[in-house]
């Protein structure tokens, strides 16, 4: 395939959108970002093959008229790998959802402990200061009021496994 401006622009847009999604806390968006990045890379590989030509089958076309078969073989391999890993990621996301009814990535518990211990640390995060949707579920600091919220949410959205549930603001208890 002849590399055209259109293809380059598409690759660029896919990369940009993919990186944007990959930076999200929500795992479903991370997965979508990964898929976009994978497709962008596949297109990039495709555009490395130089000028387009006939199908590279012996006897079907003369060697000078054929397209470059190697990028196509590489893309095929890459697609298979991306496919398998996307399936695995989906399974992990589902598992994460089942475990904590929330599929955003949590703050590392041990990091928090080390930060607490030293008192002042750039990493120090007080869960109470976080936006409700950023607070790790099943976490010590989310037990009281959030439990009630989660129960209501569970009734309201029963059977809906989506990451788009924003927890409504709750009243923080002073400690």
């Amino acid at each position: 395939m002849t590399p055209t401006v259109v293809l380059s622009v598409i690759i660029g847009v896919l990369y940009a959108a993919g990186v944007y999604l990959l930076l999200d806390r929500s795992l479903t968006r991370v997965l979508l970002g990964f898929l976009l990045l994978g497709n962008a890379t596949n297109l990039l590989l495709l555009s490395t093959g130089g000028a387009s030509g006939l199908a590279p089958i012996l006897g079907y076309a003369e060697p000078d008229e054929m397209g470059d078969p190697l990028p196509q073989a590489l893309i095929l391999t890459a697609i298979v790998i991306t496919f398998g890993i996307a399936a695995f990621l989906l399974a992990i996301i589902y598992r994460s959802w089942r475990l904590v009814r929330q599929e955003v990535i949590e703050v590392d518990e041990e990091d928090r402990r080390v930060a607490r211990r030293s008192g002042t640390d750039a990493d120090e995060i007080d869960p109470d200061d976080l936006a409700p949707e950023d607070r790790p579920a099943m976490h010590a600091d989310t037990f009281a009021a959030d439990n009630e919220v989660e129960r209501r949410l569970a009734q309201q959205y029963s059977g809906m496994a989506s990451d788009d549930i924003d927890l409504p603001p709750t009243q923080r208890r002073k400690r």
């Binding site: 490395t48 992990i92 598992r95 089942r98 990535i105 041990e110 080390v114």
Partner: protein, 576 residues
């Protein structure tokens, strides 16, 4: 001879994995025997390959008999053969340890039947990456080992492992995509992905293009090798996995990245355009990694941070781009694979014996289990680089190479290397003085089983009594179980504050919390045996340092020359 043997380190584990999967969970004994046999065979083949490669020089095999630039090439030279031997050795040690752990934990009846096949696939991927003669095959090798590692890291699917696994998977995916994009760009620029052919063609490109390709490849590999600032994922994801899994990851996976960096810097881009950048990266990796280790209180986390830190030594050696620097880096890779694996295995034993990996909770281990103390002490001193161990020899070689280089930046790195070595000693001797040397009576209050389990994470996941087992995989979390969950969260909160403020926790929410006294369990013999064997291997590295350093020297000379590698690929009409 060498051509018949070359594909075996990849083929045997793959076939073994298929067979182990077929045998499945129904015949765990056969499965275990099979895996151990396969890895022993791989080790034997690797040793023979190393002997042949060291005697006769590099050789290459064209898979499927395709002529050279078209087909896939597997190349054995001194570096890859040496890597294979070390990888097979630690893999075998870890596998035996895992078998011992499985037997001891009573999963004879219901073993996780995918562990052995996945482990073998992982080894196949590692071997493929070491042997790959073209960039795309290297990518495939990486993908094989990464996919296997995703499965191993999230084995059992408990909440902490899933959380850690997702970080690891997403970061690995990103680096793989970067690598793939780099391959695409390189193919567009040169029209080949064969590394021997690339060695000739890349030099003809304009300098700017070369720099772009080189930096894309290096960023991808530096993520895998955990070079700062691309290392934050490692201490976050490694410590939660089961002990044998962490051990093999810590030993092998980052070193595959280091191996790829060595190949990139010597075979593909020998100009040294990014050496200064690599030196700064090495400096930051060493210092920031070890400062992280000093701040931690969990053995596994301390070890993970020292792992990151010591990657800096290898990158330092590579960035010197001299024969002495490369030889030091190669020797250090060998030393570090063995030592880091051993230490993580020992940390697994410490966890079994002490019930925790938090240094604040351990105590009196030296008295309780003198053998375990020796098993920790010897590799720990080796890691810190105390003479006469191999860690000292490797560090000395690297620092010597840095001094003889003469520039001011290498000298700064030499100083940083010495500081890192001392801080390593500080970090690991804290574990020693608190966990092993301190009398058990002095361990602070709050050392309850629940707190320990909270620290230890998944290994003892069943222990916190208030944690509803039903939340683990059952859908019952939606409706009526909120009371249970609320109680669990209360308990978690109490544990949390207890940890944070070091006061004794109230046991109200902990249900029938057990007494603080933990009965001392004897360590299972197989696990202990394999740990002893691994420690013996690390000591043997010291005893055999002369010949090993000789191989590393010759490997470094080959790497700088580039001729042997290219000749091996294009020299003969390689047919297996």
């Amino acid at each position: 001879m060498i051509r018949v043997l070359t594909p075996l380190p990849v083929l045997l584990p793959l076939l073994g994995a298929a067979a182990a999967l077929l045998v499945g969970g129904r015949h765990p004994r056969i499965q275990r025997t099979l895996s151990v046999l396969v890895l022993s065979a791989v080790l034997t083949v690797s040793v023979v390959l190393l002997t042949l490669a060291d005697a006769d020089g590099a050789d290459a095999v064209s898979v499927g008999g395709w002529p050279v630039p078209l087909g896939i090439v597997l190349v054995v030279d001194r570096l890859s053969a040496l890597m294979l031997v070390v990888a097979a050795t630690v893999a075998l040690g870890v596998l035996v340890f895992a078998v011992g752990q499985g037997a001891a934990d009573g999963d004879e009846e219901t073993p996780i039947s995918i562990f052995h096949p996945t482990f073998l696939v992982l080894i196949a991927g590692v071997a493929n990456a070491f042997l790959a003669g073209d960039l795309f095959n290297l990518y495939v090798g990486f993908e094989i080992l990464l996919t296997a590692s995703y499965v191993l890291l999230t084995l059992g699917g408990s909440a902490p492992r899933i959380r850690a696994g997702i970080t690891y998977i997403v970061v690995s995916l990103l680096s793989s995509l970067l690598f793939l994009a780099a391959i695409g760009l390189i193919y567009a620029a040169t029209g080949t992905v064969n590394m021997a052919q690339l060695a000739g063609r890349l030099g003809e490109l304009p300098e700017g293009t070369q720099l772009l390709l080189q930096s894309t490849l290096l960023i991808a590999f530096c993520i895998k090798a955990a070079v700062f600032p691309l290392s934050a994922w490692l201490p976050d994801s490694y410590p939660t996995a089961p002990a044998p899994v962490t051990a093999v990851f810590a030993g092998l996976l980052t070193k595959v990245g280091v191996y790829a960096i060595i190949r990139t810097q010597t075979l593909l881009f020998p100009g040294g355009a990014l050496d200064t950048v690599l030196m700064w990266a090495a400096l930051a990796t060493m210092l920031i990694g070890i400062l992280g280790a000093v701040a931690q209180t969990d053995i596994r986390r301390i070890l993970s941070f020292t792992l990151v830190s010591h990657i800096g030594y290898m990158v330092f050696g590579i960035s010197l781009a001299s024969a002495a620097g490369l030889a030091g880096a190669v020797f250090y890779v060998v030393h570090h694979i063995a030592i880091q694996t051993t230490l993580f295995l020992v940390a697994g034993l410490v966890e079994r014996q002490g019930g925790s990996t938090g240094v604040d909770r351990l105590g009196g281990l030296a008295k309780a289990s003198p053998l375990l103390a020796v098993l920790y002490f010897v590799p720990a001193m080796n890691l810190a680089g105390i003479p006469p161990f191999s860690g000292f020899i490797g560090k000395f070689g690297l620092l010597d190479a840095g001094i003889s280089d003469g520039g001011w930046l290498p000298l700064v790195l030499v100083a940083a290397g010495a500081v890192t070595s001392l801080l390593t000693l500080l970090a690991i001797s804290r574990v020693w003085s608190r966990g092993f040397w301190r009398p058990a009576a002095q361990t602070p209050a709050g050392d309850t089983d629940a707190a320990a389990a909270h620290d230890a994470g998944p290994e003892l996941a069943a222990v916190p009594p208030a944690q509803p087992d039903g939340a683990d995989g059952v859908d019952g979390t939606a409706g009526g179980s909120t009371a249970v969950r609320s109680r669990a969260r209360q308990a978690a909160w109490q544990r949390h504050t207890a940890v944070a403020t070091a006061t004794a926790p109230s046991t109200d929410g902990l249900g029938d919390g057990e007494a603080a006294e933990r009965p001392l369990r004897p360590l299972p013999r197989v696990m202990l045996g394999s740990a002893v064997a691994m420690v013996a291997v690390t000591v043997a590295l010291t005893a055999l340092a002369g010949p090993l350093y000789g191989i590393a020297d010759r490997a470094a000379a080959d790497l700088l020359d580039r001729g042997p590698y290219v000749d091996a690929v294009f020299g003969g009409e390689g047919r297996p």
